[in-house]
């Protein structure tokens, strides 16, 4: 096996955390059970990786096999990449419920003069029977139109459009575009959270504590539940609003009132789990209920990038 390929194997396997090593190697299914048993997994990681690379050499592993392993690693660690969403269309548009028919594509870009860079690949996840594809952000932005064309042709669509939706959490993006987020998933804490009131406080309240605004609290809970539902929200890290509007003022005069050019302003909301955070704003007393529709329409419209202009 040549030096560069061996090195690529070494680095790819080294990335894998030890807790996942066996699972990933078994999923890869390139090294046999017997071969895996010859490796002493109690050594230091570098030595284990060295042994594994030697086994790969024995099996005459090719670049394809290495790429395959890299895809599996990325599937396990999908949240380490940020995913964009693309929607393709043809006339007439056909769309069917997505099953787990997903195709993971790994692309290493090269040019006429350079060999493909294996260390900076782009990933595409395509769900057959649907017009959606998800790509991990590629550093080489110039390749994007090419990728778009390839996807459109390969999937027999006519046109590809980049949606204003982006997140680290591929499964949440899926849930949003396939409209699967409004089903109750695992039961763990989704049913009890709203009943206990805000922020997970003790449900056994002392009878010496009396809430004066019980009616208002219940209204807020009800409105929040109507808007956000009972189910866990899909996970997004931010929402961005670009404003390009003319300044409007009630006061007469003022420097900005006569300005013809629109004001430009960017507002970005970020959170480890944006939609859950928005859901808890009103019950926590930080905002009034109902929240602005600009915030609550995010999963419904499948967008977390908004441009707001004067009509």
């Amino acid at each position: 096996m040549d030096e560069t390929l061996a090195e690529f194997f070494r680095r790819t396997i080294l990335k894998i955390p030890m807790t996942e090593m066996m699972t990933i190697l078994k999923t890869w299914n390139f090294l046999s059970e017997n071969q895996l048993q010859t490796v002493n997994f109690r050594q230091r990681k570098e030595s284990i990786v060295q042994d594994l690379v030697l086994l790969c050499e024995e099996n005459h592993a090719s670049l394809n096999d290495a790429a395959h392993l890299d895809i599996i690693y990325t599937q396990f660690h999908r949240h380490q990449k940020i995913w964009d969403v693309f929607q393709m269309s043809k006339a007439p548009v056909s769309f069917r419920d997505a099953e787990e028919n997903s195709v993971w594509i790994r692309i290493a870009w090269g040019t006429q003069y350079k060999k493909p860079n294996q260390y900076k690949p782009a990933y595409v996840v395509y769900y057959s029977q649907t017009p959606y594809a998800f790509t991990s952000s590629s550093r080489l932005k110039s390749n994007l139109p090419l990728l778009g064309q390839a996807l459109t042709v390969a999937s027999k669509h006519h046109q590809i459009v980049k949606m204003d939706l982006r997140s680290r959490y591929l499964d949440s993006l899926k849930a949003i575009v396939f409209k699967q987020y409004n089903q109750s998933f695992e039961t763990h804490n989704c049913t009890t959270s709203l009943q206990e009131g805000s922020l997970g406080l003790d449900i056994n309240m002392d009878s010496r504590i009396i809430h004066e605004n019980k009616v208002e609290k219940e209204r807020v809970q009800r409105v929040t539940q109507e808007i956000f539902g009972d189910y866990p929200q899909p996970r997004l890290e931010f929402a961005q609003y670009k404003l390009e509007t003319k300044f409007k003022s009630d006061l007469n005069g003022g420097i900005l009132a006569e300005r013809e050019e629109p004001l430009r302003c960017l507002v970005k909301f970020s959170s480890p789990h944006l939609l859950e955070a928005l859901k808890s704003l009103a019950p926590a007393g930080i905002a009034d209920a109902p929240l602005s529709p600009l915030l609550t329409c995010i999963p419904n419209k499948g967008k977390n990038y908004f441009k707001i202009r004067d009509k």
């Binding site: 406080l201 504590i209 009396i210 605004n213 007393g285």
Partner: protein
């Protein structure tokens, strides 16, 4: 929904009632829990409200002390408190009202200047307390303090009344406005 009056009801036997007013329910709830854990010879009752005026209730006991909780991180909380103050009978401001500002510890998150609440407390001639309610130890200490204030305002401490309290607390705590 009439304005709250301090002396329009008879007191309960050995009972002291405090009303905490603030927009952030979780903070009020935690403070209430801490107060009930504090040592106290009187029977305590804690009422929590988002704002004034309170909904009509015949069963509400006499309120001995009102604490307005302002979160320095939230302009909404200050606005809500300012609007609520209009619905309070003037007689309450004779020692039965206090302001509590939380969140001063995290300066980068503060959207309300400290001096704004100082001025507010000064305008209403009432004491201002600072405490980061999110930190358990500080909260417990403040809760203990509020319990003592409450007992005095309810008349359970012989020799000290709410009015005395007002002049006692005006000491070194509240900086003189000339410095602002």
């Amino acid at each position: 929904m009439s304005a709250l009056r301090p002396l329009d009801k008879l007191p309960g036997l050995n009972t002291a009632t405090i009303l905490l007013v603030g927009t952030e329910d979780a903070l009020l709830q935690q403070l209430a829990d801490s107060m009930l854990k504090a040592d106290c010879t009187s029977e305590l009752k804690v009422h929590l409200a988002r704002s004034l005026p309170l909904p009509c209730s015949v069963n509400r006991p006499r309120i001995d002390l009102i604490v307005f909780v302002v979160n320095l991180h939230s302009k909404l909380s200050l606005q809500s408190v300012e609007e609520s103050l209009c619905h309070l009978d003037a007689a309450f401001f004779l020692g039965k009202v206090a302001f509590l500002a939380t969140g001063a510890g995290r300066d980068s998150h503060c959207s309300i200047h400290r001096n704004t609440v100082v001025k507010l407390a000064h305008t209403y001639r009432s004491p201002l307390l600072f405490c980061d309610l999110e930190i358990e130890d500080f909260r417990a200490a403040m809760a203990q303090r509020l319990v003592r204030l409450l007992q005095i305002c309810a008349g359970h401490v012989p020799g000290v009344s709410a009015l005395n309290l007002l002049s006692l607390m005006r000491g070194s705590e509240n900086p003189s406005l000339e410095d602002l």
